[in-house]
Symmetry: C2
Subunit: 197 residues, 2 copies
């Protein structure tokens, strides 16, 4: 005899596809759903279908959008473009309420080991936007890992000759860390990139 | 401007209703759904609706069931009844492949502080099953906490006078624990309930 009846087994299986969710957690989630009211369960299922159906990508910048053009592209001046790897990076930066420019989402970074070359990410779209004119600065905000650095360098080499200011977000020790516990690479970068106060 | 577009915000909100899921985790789950194929998202939503719609409770024992009577009640002899608090306890015990009797799910434990009295849990159903005859042993497998112990005692006092053997699952130190790290109550119980080898 199987331990779970079919509808519960199936639901546990679906939940365990979520990142970081193992069998025990998936089981807890399934029990929670079974204890929901019918309206709650329907709202949950609808939210999943809706997110899948209504979340598209902005034709201009590649960010998540409900329409062809995202609100950021529609409402902001495109003088400064911040280049990121994924749409979720846009959300992380938007949460700061510090940046007022537009974005360009590459949907990946150059990674020869994984067979991802410059043509597999949206560099062409970025160059087309720059070619239209009006762009004064491009901020490279890819992740500070090997692929992110390589992608930032690659794009910098393409657009610097066009006379556009290209900047890279600062690396260094995170705010609030003890020097003692900071990793060596970040600490070394913090020394190299030190600035006059 | 809001950070999340509406369909993503709604989905994050739904995911954060799951037990132990905070804002960051809910966000990761939502990104995962957005990156699913349409079939995958549909299968996920269907599993939720299906579990809610098709999971009922067995009319005899109160366990999860797709039909009026669960497979366990239908296929096994009702000589031994194991009394548990919730349907998920049945699953935990079934996973052991050790127990061959039937179950009775109380759907709660007596807890005066929370206003849950003996009439709010399914003790009546258990008594009705015993009254039908044929039951030789009732195993009290409620949790080893105050409410679980009190409920076990209450039910024991009701059915012992009927001449039925009532047992309680053993408490003691968990297998694999060092005595040094075992909690004091469990260690004390392990001494009281020691047995001849």
């Amino acid at each position: 005899m199987k331990v779970y009846i079919e509808p519960i087994g199936k639901l546990i299986n679906e939940f365990s596809k979520l990142p970081g969710v193992g069998a025990k957690t998936a089981q807890r989630f399934a029990y929670k759903v079974i204890n929901m009211s019918e309206e709650e369960a329907k709202a949950f299922a609808d939210a999943i279908l809706n997110a899948k159906k209504n979340v598209k990508y902005c034709k201009t910048c590649g960010n998540f959008s409900e329409n062809d053009e995202c609100d950021i592209c529609r409402l902001r001046q495109a003088e400064t473009i911040c280049v990121v790897k994924e749409p979720k990076d846009v959300i992380a930066i938007e949460k700061l309420n510090e940046y007022n420019g537009v974005y360009h989402v590459l949907h990946g970074t150059i990674s020869p080991l994984d067979g991802i070359g410059p043509d597999d990410i949206d560099i062409k779209g970025l160059l087309a936007r720059i070619a239209k004119g009006g762009v004064k600065e491009v901020i490279m905000a890819t992740n500070p890992d090997v692929e992110g650095e390589a992608t930032a360098m690659y794009i910098t080499n393409l657009i610097k000759p066009l006379g556009i200011k290209v900047t890279r977000i600062a690396h260094g020790i995170p705010v609030g860390t003890d020097l003692e516990y900071a990793d060596e690479v970040s600490l070394a970068r913090a020394f190299v990139d030190r600035k006059t106060i």
